[in-house]
């Protein structure tokens, strides 16, 4: 039974686990490391996060700062993510924080896309709070088809470590934009 309940789904999942996938994903996850590369019209920007320090490298130069990230995923289906960072450069400082609240559920697999069952997580957002430049904006979403959604892909789900993959691209008549990378969360 344990094997049935816990066969590997993510590309780098443990081969077997005594805990179900739902039991493993539930918890307070703290962002440990991350590297995200975004491309837009040929401009490339790389954001790296490592245990509280943030580095952003783009064609215009690089800047550094501090930041944090946390995902709270409950077995009851509720979800909360908190991200914040402060970037400082010569003569400037910029802060950003975002809190997303909502519900979560595993998604079914997709054979065409080579995606396994419970490999993707769907977030139905009910509230998003953004604080940037000293200004706070709160958006609430409700209704049967309301809200905004987010999808993330789990590359590895262990009891105390989760790796999320980002892979998205858009092409329109020569214009290309993309976001690719990974984030590693741990339970401390």
């Amino acid at each position: 039974m344990a094997v049935i309940g816990s066969c590997k789904k993510g590309e780098n999942d443990p081969f077997i686990s005594l805990k179900s996938r739902k039991a493993r994903i539930a918890g307070e996850w703290v962002l440990s490391t991350s590297e995200i590369v975004t491309t837009s019209s040929g401009d490339v920007s790389t954001t790296k996060f490592n245990d509280g320090s943030v580095t952003i490298v783009s064609a215009g130069g690089s800047s550094t700062g501090i930041g944090s990230g946390m995902l709270t995923i409950d077995k009851d289906g509720t979800y909360k993510s908190q991200t914040s960072y402060t970037i400082t450069g010569t003569g400037y400082s910029s802060s950003y924080s975002e809190t997303v609240e909502g519900t979560w559920q595993f998604m079914d697999g997709d054979k065409d896309e080579d995606i396994k069952n419970r490999e993707r997580v769907l977030i139905h957002i009910t509230q998003r709070t953004v604080i940037s430049g000293g200004k706070s904006d709160v958006y609430t979403y409700s209704g049967t088809t309301g809200g905004s959604i987010e999808i993330f892909m789990i590359d590895q789900l262990k009891s105390k470590e989760m790796i999320i993959n980002y892979d998205e691209s858009y092409t329109h008549d020569g214009y290309i934009s993309s976001t690719k990378g990974t984030s590693t969360y741990i339970i401390e």
Binding site: Q105, S136, G146
Partner: protein
Amino acid sequence: MRVILYFLAVVCFLSCKKGENDPYFSILSRKERITGKWTLKEQDITYRYSDPKKSYDSVVHETFLNNELSKDINLFNKPLDSEYDETIDINRDGSYERIYRFGVVYFIETGSWHFVKGSRSAKIKNKEIVVFEPEKIVEMDDEEGQQSEELFTGIQNTEVVFERIDELRNNEMKFIYQSVTVDTKQKEISITGYKIYIK
């Protein structure tokens, strides 16, 4: 008696109602019912934008009937009408093709579809929501051919569309829309209405 009860249990297991106005039960599974070529028959959707600082709301009432899409905008004197038709070909293998046409210009959208599992926390029933994930949208013109092409790839498709099924019969399907977004300044955007497709 036991056989009858067993039969009813099997039928109900396969096809008990999920959408609010689904048939009570159906011999065909939900997947079997949704697959096929659907044509838009009727549409009635209201988009409302409210700003507490303004004494009036901006309202767009969009209706479709008899191949005519009409947008009645309350700030304009008369509605904007255009020739329109729309089909969605939903395939059993998980692919779909949606074609929507405004006169001589039309769009071909292809991608994958799947049902969403039920979720108590999100208050959705199993297979009540169908997700369309477009992979390609091609803009065509009857006279000038292909005009543009948009490609969406990767695992986080930003163009994903959620449709809530209110009713799914063998030959008729109804999507309903009911959402409200409110920002810090209490500005509100609401969408309410429905779309009905027939096979």
